[in-house]
């Protein structure tokens, strides 16, 4: 078992419980031990518009907490992943700034050293654990299902920083879904933004963005959407109904966390995957699965 500090951020542990439940039920099956540390705070990315120094400080603080235990970090939320990665890049390259931030962190007995690596679930599974290990665990392949993958902006950009997946043609989620027995066709809107960062300021616009993409996916007859970001899930799943109202469409698109789909394929019990916490109509997929396996 390889140990990783789990950095949960804000949204997942306060609201997007389905993500947390499903990743805790599936990753250990792939040899990942998740270490839960005390003392975390927001990564600071949602507050970047207010004060970028605050973001840098908060991210450094969270990195320091993980580094105290000398653990690499698993970050399920791409927004947190971007914040932590960008802060690491700044501090590793600017000794003066590092000194300045560390003087702020010293009050809590923390120090950023730059020794921990940062992973998201997708690159952890695809690059570190490997698809063979995933295939071995599959008991109920997701045959006949075709998912529209949604990576989310912060997972794929800006590529100059180094992101877990390719910025223009990401394929890692597709490869994982394939290993789980499903298909994941390409579609024109694949890289479109979910709108979440504008929720504090222009919520209608955010919902319009989400609604427009969902409507397109619905028209293209995918089985559902697969994603790995709590913000995107909040928009596409938790707010699907409202998004539909905003764009004047009746939306009925099953939206899953990748870890939930992985759990289904591994034969994990639905309750342990938080499936009832998804507000989108998962039955369209789950009932079909029941048909296939019965």
């Amino acid at each position: 078992m390889t140990r990783y500090a789990l950095y949960p951020g804000c949204l997942m542990p306060t609201e997007q419980y389905g993500y947390e439940v499903s990743l805790k039920s599936t990753l250990p099956l792939l040899g990942v031990e998740l270490v839960e540390l005390q003392g975390f705070s927001c990564c600071g990315e949602p507050l970047k518009s207010i004060n970028q120094m605050l973001t840098l400080t908060l991210s450094a603080r969270n990195l320091a907490i993980c580094e105290k235990e000398e653990l690499d970090i698993l970050v399920p939320c791409p927004m947190c992943h971007l914040a932590l990665s960008e802060s690491k890049s700044i501090l590793d390259g600017d000794a003066k700034m590092k000194e300045r931030i560390n003087s702020k962190l010293s009050g809590e007995g923390l120090e950023y050293r730059g020794i921990s690596r940062i992973f998201h679930i997708i690159d952890l599974i695809h690059d570190v654990i490997g698809l063979d290990a995933v295939r071995e665990k599959v008991e109920k392949p997701l045959s006949g299902l075709n998912f529209a993958t949604h990576y989310g902006c912060h997972l794929i950009r800006p590529s100059s920083l180094g992101r877990p997946v390719d910025p223009e043609n990401p394929q890692k989620m597709e490869n994982i879904l394939e290993a789980l027995g499903a298909k994941a066709d390409d579609y024109a809107e694949k890289l479109d933004c979910c709108g979440a960062p504008l929720l504090p300021v222009h919520p209608e616009t955010s919902l319009t963005k989400a609604g427009q993409k969902l409507r397109s996916i619905q028209e293209q007859e995918f089985s559902g959407m697969a994603l790995s970001c709590p913000w995107c899930h909040k928009m596409y799943d938790s707010r699907q109904k409202k998004a539909g109202e905003t764009v004047g469409a009746r939306l009925s698109v099953p939206v899953f966390y990748l870890t939930q789909l992985m759990g289904l394929a591994f034969g994990v019990d639905g309750e342990k995957l938080g499936l009832d916490l998804n507000l989108s109509p998962l039955e369209k997929v789950l009932d079909r699965e029941k048909e296939v396996t019965s």
Partner: protein
């Protein structure tokens, strides 16, 4: 007893303002060995030269010291003046009292003191200089031109017309290059083949041109005047003496219609037995070893169909590659360009939709000898497109792809618009998304004006992406002229891609010892004043291998390179600079260290005498062997240790 003359230059006020030149002149006149010392305003001028020459004869000088600007400026001139005046040109010592003295110091007193010191050292060296003779190497009066496109053919024809034999090596089975792939040329809309094929014929028929097609240069040794080149003549698996170019094998071939055709930019298919295009020269078939079943697997059904079809019995599966050695005096490189792989710009949809194509691919669709016989149709449906959108600068002027401007993109796109208006119904929508329109050449701006009048929508903005959905293709582009975002629904997208160096240019440049500029194209010696020379003496460049350009600039450069090359070939002998390494045969033990350190392959150990030798033509006088020689057997002529130590003594 030596008789040295010292000549101090004022260089106007460049030297004289900081150095008391009269004082220096006076000081010099009293140095040991100096019989006369003069100063003048501009020593490099005609009167200055006369002063030196008159002094040589009047005072019977046998050596000259010039205190002036850097030798990089006028060393050559002053050596000439000395020779004119009757003394050996290598009995000239120049000391730099400008860049290294007057231009570097504020205080007049100090500058003058330093100038005197420099002159004293120079005189000391001058007393020890030896007269040197330039050695001569004969020039092989033949040229090699690498590349048989328009640049290579033009250069070859010019050199051949000058009366020299030219070996023209082309890696494809035919000459013609990129121009053979074009339909029309801008801005005159000449038919490309119509202006190209006469040149191809001329090249083929010229008695002085030895055409080697389907061949590659694999090694180059030697130096200007004497290059020894190895050429690999690849096996066509067709006996060219028997082959009539009838083309029967190309239609009979078992896998006809299955092999992607690179001449048609892989938009069409051909057979394993092929003739690249109907006007190919030489008009001979070639078998593609990467696809031919016989060559790959040793069998082809119940027997190769090309053999059955060939009445001349020209197919020869046993043919082998040949290595040919040629000796030439100069080389002209004209290897052309490649087009950026548009798949690298994933967001533009090149790999997502067959209807997103590049300009060169569109050129093949437009061309009557192309895969659709000149019908412009969508690759996905073979229907005429109702809307065509051009995106300029795809991958160009881009810090993340190719930083340079491709120079011809704007004009090719405008040309295509014109041709599309001819070929497609008038209601076809044509859009151009541009960042700038660069129509810089003669007749180009007028052509642009013409195209502005054919009902094309110009959008000044660069699209972020091309959206390919199952139903259609849409492009969002912000037009800065109207400050509006336009959503363009289109059926065919034409990307104007960056032009890049040939894929093998790194390896190729190493074979010739050529440098490349930051963009990867071959490096010219000076972008303004020596655009067809390279840093290797005797090797010249022409055409797009040196940087993207249009056909007129290519032809100009090719003729220029030919002239430069011929200038060397007209000489019977080349003189070699004698300021190079020299080995004392009494001291040298033949250890071979010098051979290892020489970057110019100018050293070898004589097999008979066991002593190291210097090749006068190749030695560049860099000094590496002199530093490396453990026995101190090696010195630099007229920069000997003895001379330099004397100079240091004087200064210190």
């Amino acid at each position: 007893m030596r008789r040295i003359g010292v000549f101090v230059c004022h260089c106007g006020i460049n030297i004289a303002s900081k150095v008391d030149v009269e004082d220096v002149t006076d000081f010099s006149s009293r140095l040991e060995g100096v019989v006369v010392s003069k100063d003048y305003k501009y020593m490099c001028s005609d009167p200055g030269a006369k002063l030196i020459k008159d002094s040589i004869s009047e005072y019977g000088l046998d050596g000259v010291v010039i205190a002036s600007c850097s030798p990089r400026m006028h060393e050559h001139t002053f050596r000439g003046v000395a020779e004119d005046g009757g003394i050996n040109p290598y009995n000239v010592e120049i000391t730099n009292i400008r860049e290294q003295c007057s231009w570097a110091h504020e205080d007049r007193g100090e500058a003058t003191k330093k100038a005197k010191s420099l002159v004293r050292a120079a005189v000391a060296k001058a007393l020890l200089l030896e007269p040197l003779e330039k050695s001569r190497t004969p020039v092989t009066p033949e040229a090699l031109v690498i590349g048989g496109g328009i640049a290579g053919m033009q250069a070859a024809l010019d050199i051949a017309d000058d009366g020299f034999k030219v070996h023209l090596v082309e890696k494809e089975p035919t000459i013609g290059g990129r121009m053979a792939q074009l339909d029309k040329t801008f801005p005159t809309l000449d038919c490309s083949s119509c202006i190209l094929t006469p040149k191809m014929m001329e090249t083929k028929n010229h008695p002085n041109i030895d055409l080697m097609t389907y061949s590659r240069v694999i090694s180059v040794e030697g130096s200007v005047g004497n290059y020894r080149v190895k050429v690999l003549k690849k096996a066509r698996y067709v006996d060219v003496d028997k082959c009539t170019g009838c083309g029967d094998c190309t239609t009979a071939c078992r896998i006809a219609g299955h092999v992607p055709d690179p001449f048609n930019m892989n938009m069409g298919k051909r057979a394993a037995a092929y003739i690249p295009f109907p006007q190919a020269i030489p008009l001979k078939a070639t078998l593609d070893p990467d696809h031919c079943l016989m060559l790959r697997f040793g069998k082809c059904g119940d027997g190769p169909l090309c053999v059955k079809a060939c009445e001349a019995g020209a197919i020869d599966f046993d043919q082998k590659d040949q290595e040919i050695e040629i000796n030439v005096g100069t080389i002209v490189v004209a290897t052309g360009y490649d087009v950026l792989d548009a798949g690298k710009l994933f967001e533009y949809g090149y790999t997502r939709s067959p209807d997103v194509i590049t300009t060169l691919e569109l050129e093949r669709l437009i061309s009557s000898s192309g895969p659709t016989k000149g019908e412009v149709v969508l690759p996905s449906s073979n229907e005429k497109p109702r809307s065509v959108t051009f995106i300029l600068c795809a991958g160009s002027r881009d810090e993340t792809q190719c930083t340079w401007c491709c120079r011809i993109g704007c004009m090719s796109a405008l040309k295509h618009v014109y041709l599309l208006r001819e070929k497609l119904p008038c209601e076809t929508e044509i859009n151009i998304c541009y960042t700038d329109i660069r129509s810089f050449g003669k007749g180009y701006e007028e052509f642009y004006r013409k195209i502005r009048g054919v009902g094309v929508s110009f959008f000044r903005g660069r699209p972020s992406e091309v959206r390919v959905s199952r139903k259609n293709i849409t492009i969002d582009v912000f037009d800065t002229t109207t400050n509006k975002l336009f959503e363009i629904g289109t059926e065919m997208v034409v990307l104007v891609p960056a032009l890049v160096p040939r894929a093998d240019s790194e390896e190729f440049s190493r074979i010739l010892g050529l440098s490349r500029s930051g963009d990867g194209f071959l490096l010219e010696a000076h972008p303004k004043l020596r655009p067809m020379d390279t840093f290797v003496n005797g090797i010249f460049v022409a055409g797009c291998c040196q940087g993207p350009k249009d056909i007129s600039d290519t032809v100009s450069q090719a003729s220029g390179a030919a002239s430069r090359a011929a200038g060397i070939l007209t000489k019977d002998e080349l003189e070699n600079d004698p300021l190079i390494a020299w080995v004392d045969p009494e001291v040298c033990v033949g250890c071979g260290v010098c051979v290892e350190v020489c970057a110019y392959s100018a050293r070898k150990i004589n097999e008979v005498t066991g002593i190291a030798e210097v090749d006068d033509a190749l030695c560049a006088g860099c000094g590496a062997c002199i530093a490396a020689c453990p026995s101190n057997a090696c010195t630099h002529r007229n920069y000997t240790k003895q001379q330099l130590v004397r100079m240091i003594d004087e200064v210190v």
